[in-house]
Structures are given as structure tokens and as C-alpha cells.
């Protein structure tokens, strides 16, 4: 019979790890996972979303259904897949379907609550570039491209983004709009979504290695929580515009010992995602 490790229990809201005991990446993954509390169906993107969503499944969102664009619904991977097409997302899943069905019936059919994406560049309105740095025809850096991100951004009910902050990634103007966010502001975005029949309401959370952003009434990113150990100066030095900051600004609850154990011992023992 298959040799699968037992699925972890939801983490008790137990003891917090000391600030020195976790890295910025680990704090980011934990904060992103917690944002998934209460969500039902999540479309999992490649890279950091993969570990954040799997941590959520083992902690705050035990009933979360994981959808992988490779054609898996209801996956319960006993190991953290390096790729989003790993055999571990297949064995024991609820359904394996052709990609056509996944994109047509599950995503475009409106069954996905959260699309969880990474990105190379993001602007204050949550528009995402994962295509090129520089000019499209003559790129300085050729990035992977859309994959499923463009249709996820349009058809998932809401979009979560996880990415590390830097002046190169949080920019005033993205080089290429791969996946639309709040376009030039909330009002116009809402009108366009309505007119064009988008299912989604766009980005709602951006989690970075320094803090947690939500989107205000203008459709612009606002720093609502800063991670323990991070400073507002660091936030401003790694962002290409003057960011809005909530008052009062919360401090993110540090990872619990159980969240740390799950990341280091079960999900990413080799540190592929957290280094």
C-alpha cells in the first residue's frame, strides 16, 4: 500500500516562535497561509503560492480544496511538490481532469474562490507582470510568461499575491501587464469588470517578506500589517512608490512553533522555498 505520511492537524494557536527563530521568507509564507482561513477553493500557482497554500491546508484551512492548473482538484500532497504537476498531487486527489475542463468548467465556470499568484513585478493597483523586464520585442529579461495567471486573475473570485519586496519588483509602472489587477483604480476597474463580465473582483491581498497589504477603496495597496523585525523604512526602501500605511498599523503575529515545524520538517525540509 502507499506509504503516505499522515496529514498534519490544524495548528493550535499555540506558542509563538521567537523572532530570531524564523526567516523573513518563513514569516511571509505563514502570513500568506493565514490569509486563506475560511476559503473553500484555491487555485495554486507555481513557486511560493504552492508552499503557502499547502501550509494553509495543514493549519487554518483544513477543508480548503486545492486546484492545480495541471488538472488536479482536491489534492492532498503528502510531500511539497517542486512543480505544480507533481505525481504527489494526483494520488489521492478528488478528481484528475484534462486541462480543458480545469480551465473551462472549474475556473471559467466560477468555482474558484481564490487564485494565488506570484509575480515578477506588481504596481500599486495590483496589476501583475510575469512576462518581460524591458521592451517585449527586445527584453532585458525574458520571464516565464502568463501560464494560467491571466485567466486566473480575471476569473477567480479574488486574487492573492505572494512575493518578496524590492524596488525592482514593486514598481510605479510595470513593464508588461500580464494579468490585470485594479487597472488604474478601483472605480474604472469595477466598471470594466462589470461591462466585460469578469467573474473576479481582482486582487485582495499582497503578502511580502515585510508585511501584509490589502486594497483600499481606491483600489490601491495599503500596508495593514508589518512583520515582526521589519521597519517602515525597510518597507519604503523596497517599494517604487510612496505606499499607503494603515493607522494604526498592526504587527503580524509571529509564526507559531507548529507552523515552523510544518514548514521545516514536513513541507520544505531542504529549504527550497524558504532560503
Amino acid at each position: 500500500m502507499s506509504e503516505q505520511r499522515p496529514v498534519g492537524q490544524p495548528a493550535a494557536s499555540g506558542s509563538a516562535a521567537p523572532a530570531s527563530a524564523f526567516t523573513k521568507s518563513e514569516m511571509m509564507i505563514v502570513a500568506a497561509a493565514r490569509e486563506l482561513a475560511g476559503q473553500r477553493v484555491c487555485f495554486v500557482g507555481v513557486g511560493l503560492p504552492n508552499i503557502a497554500v499547502n501550509l494553509a491546508r495543514l493549519t487554518v484551512a483544513p477543508t480548503l480544496e486545492l486546484v492545480y492548473e495541471s488538472g488536479a482538484f482536491g489534492s492532498k500532497p503528502p510531500r511539497l511538490p517542486l512543480s505544480i504537476g507533481d505525481p504527489s498531487i494526483v494520488t489521492g486527489a478528488t478528481a484528475i481532469v484534462p486541462m480543458f475542463e480545469l480551465f473551462s468548467f472549474y475556473l471559467q465556470g466560477g468555482l474558484v474562490d481564490v487564485g494565488f499568484l506570484g509575480a515578477a513585478q506588481i504596481d500599486r493597483f495590483g496589476n501583475i507582470n510575469s512576462t518581460v523586464i524591458g521592451d517585449y520585442e527586445h527584453p532585458k529579461t525574458r520571464l516565464p510568461g502568463s501560464g494560467g495567471a491571466c485567466e486566473i486573475a480575471i476569473n477567480a473570485r479574488q486574487v492573492f499575491v505572494i512575493m518578496r519586496q524590492s524596488k525592482r519588483s514593486f514598481v510605479d509602472k510595470i513593464d508588461f501587464r500580464t494579468s490585470p489587477g485594479n487597472l488604474g483604480g478601483a472605480e474604472a476597474a469595477a466598471r470594466i469588470r462589470r461591462e466585460q463580465g469578469w467573474l473576479g473582483s481582482g486582487p485582495s491581498v499582497v503578502v511580502t517578506d515585510l508585511g501584509i497589504y490589502h486594497f483600499d477603496d481606491a483600489g490601491e495597496m495599503r500596508l495593514d500589517s508589518i512583520h515582526p523585525g521589519a521597519t517602515l523604512d525597510q518597507v519604503r526602501e523596497t517599494i517604487g512608490w510612496d505606499p499607503k500605511v494603515a493607522e494604526p498599523l498592526a504587527v503580524t503575529r509571529p509564526p507559531t512553533a507548529e507552523e515552523m515545524r510544518l514548514i521545516r520538517e514536513e513541507l520544505d525540509p531542504e529549504g527550497a522555498y524558504t532560503k
Partner: protein, 305 residues
């Protein structure tokens, strides 16, 4: 009639210079064996179509087989880039590479339209994205039943599609399980189809479980039996993805010289997949076997006379 052929003969007869070739498979069931044979036979001017070009197209591009790429996600998932392709795109080194870019759903729609003989496939994507500017073949169309606008993508009909699968019979009736990607759509859309399998089975095995037949022999030109032909990708239930190689490729492919040396050693320098597997070594091969079995339950189709 048996369509069983050697990989060498199948590629020589079915793949021609200048063809549009799709070796599909989303992470799973990617026919590296066919890609390597195409490299060995020095096919040229191919247009390579795949959602995720993956290492196989990086290797085929590095070997000079391709002039153009049709794709939707260009990377080494969880690891990094595809550097042979990037060198050609970013610095035309050693020659430019034409790109035609979609999203995943767009590529799936293209194969679907190709398979179903439709002039386009409509989808709710690309709104307010720069992708239609980058690729003018992605076009808005108005619904004939109202004032809604959606985007259309054109059919993609490869000259050749290569599909790796768990098993087929000698006529090419093909069964697979695990992630199906868009293998079925790409096969039905193609002019010619090569099936590569881990195991050749009797027709009775296929007929005992017809729901699992993804591709009928009707559209298949050649059946190649090539165990481990998908390595370093994987075959559900047979062997795991060789993530170590996917990580190693990052270092190999970052430099044009080491990339060519790798091709010399692992593609040009060997005769085919059997020698490749031998070269991998028993230990590495054994480590890729699944850690346990997980058989499906069986279903009863019943007999009706």
C-alpha cells in the same frame, strides 16, 4: 495492423524539417526520448509548440532544431529559467528565436479548436492584458447572441504530435492516467501522431477498460515502446519526476558550452533510450520508483448479449 516501430524509424518517417511539432505533457508524460531522437537526426527549422517548453524544448532549441516557439509558460518550475531559449530571445545567441505567446487556457483552446475543426476558440481571458498587443492573433470577438465580447484564439494543428503514455496496443489505442494535460487535444489536432509507451499491451487490456482510452489508434501513425522514455519527467505509477536533474539543468544550461557538452554526452553520444537508461545507472533508476503502490479499485462494465 501493427504500427510498432523503433524510435529511430518513427521519427525519421513522421517528423520532417520545417514541421510544427508538439511534444505535449504537463510536467507528466513528456517524451524526452522523442525529443532526443529529433536532435540526433538533426531535424531543422521546426516550430515547437507546448504549453510549458520545459527542459525538452530548451535542449531541442540548444541543439538548433527550432526556429520558432509557441508556448504559454517558459520556465523550469520551482527552479529557474530555460537558458538556451533565453539566450536566443535576449541576445539572439546564436540566432534569434521567434516567439508566439499565449496563456495556458489560450493554448488549450488552440488545440481544442484544432481538434474540433473550428475556426477559433472563445475564452474569457486577456481582458485588459498586454498579451493581445504582444500577439495580435489573440483577438476580441463579439457574441452573436448578445453584446458580450470575449477573446478568440486560432486553431493549432501541429504536423506532428508526440504523446508519451503508460500503455497502448499495437494499433495505437492508448491509455493513460494521472495528469492528462492537453495530450488528447494535441493528438486529435495533429496531422500525424507518434505514441510512445512504457508498455505494449494486448488489445484485450484496452478493451477491458475503455473509459481509460484517451487516444484511439485511428489517429495514430506509429507506436514506439520506450520504457523510461519520459525521464526526467515522470510516469504516474511507474517512476517519479527526477527533480535532481531539473535542478542540475539550471547549472548546465546557464552556459552555452556546458549545454553543448551535455548534449554531446547524453544525446549525440548515445544510440537511444536503452543506452540512456543504462547510463543513468541502476541506483538512480531504482531511486525514482514510487515509494509504494496505490492501485485503483476496479469497476465492472458488465456483459450484455
Amino acid at each position: 495492423m501493427s504500427k510498432v516501430a523503433s524510435m529511430r524509424d518513427a521519427v525519421a518517417e513522421v517528423v520532417h524539417d520545417g514541421d510544427v511539432v508538439a511534444i505535449e505533457g504537463f510536467t507528466h508524460l513528456i517524451s524526452f526520448a522523442a525529443g532526443h531522437e529529433i536532435i540526433r537526426q538533426r531535424k531543422r527549422d521546426l516550430t515547437l509548440a507546448r504549453l510549458t517548453p520545459d527542459l525538452i524544448y530548451d535542449q531541442m532549441v540548444a541543439a538548433g532544431t527550432a526556429r520558432k516557439l509557441i508556448f504559454s509558460w517558459l520556465g523550469n518550475p520551482g527552479v529557474g529559467g530555460l537558458y538556451a531559449i533565453r539566450r536566443r530571445v535576449e541576445s539572439a545567441d546564436p540566432a534569434p528565436l521567434e516567439l508566439e505567446e499565449y496563456s495556458h487556457f489560450g493554448m488549450v483552446g488552440r488545440y481544442t479548436a484544432g481538434a474540433a475543426n473550428l475556426p477559433f476558440y472563445p475564452l474569457r481571458s486577456y481582458f485588459e492584458s498586454d498579451l493581445p498587443k504582444a500577439n495580435p492573433l489573440i483577438r476580441p470577438i463579439r457574441s452573436p447572441y448578445g453584446d458580450e465580447t470575449v477573446y478568440a484564439v486560432p486553431p493549432l494543428k501541429p504536423d506532428v504530435t508526440v504523446v508519451h503514455a503508460q500503455r497502448a496496443d499495437a494499433e495505437g489505442n492508448t491509455q493513460m492516467w494521472g495528469l492528462l494535460g492537453c495530450q488528447k487535444e494535441a493528438a486529435f489536432a495533429a496531422e500525424r501522431v507518434i505514441i510512445v509507451v512504457e508498455e505494449l499491451v494486448d488489445e484485450a487490456v484496452i478493451r477491458a477498460d475503455p473509459n481509460r482510452t484517451v487516444i484511439p489508434g485511428l489517429i495514430v501513425d506509429a507506436v514506439v515502446v520506450e520504457p523510461w522514455g519520459a525521464h526526467p519527467s515522470y510516469v504516474q505509477g511507474s517512476y517519479d519526476r527526477d527533480n535532481r536533474f531539473y535542478r542540475d539543468w539550471e547549472g548546465i544550461s546557464k552556459d552555452a558550452t556546458t549545454t553543448q557538452a551535455w548534449l554531446d554526452e547524453w544525446v549525440y553520444g548515445i544510440s537511444g533510450r536503452a543506452e540512456y537508461v543504462e547510463k543513468l545507472g541502476a541506483e538512480r533508476v531504482a531511486a525514482l520508483k514510487p515509494s509504494g503502490t496505490a492501485p485503483s479499485g476496479s469497476v465492472d462494465y458488465g456483459t450484455y448479449r
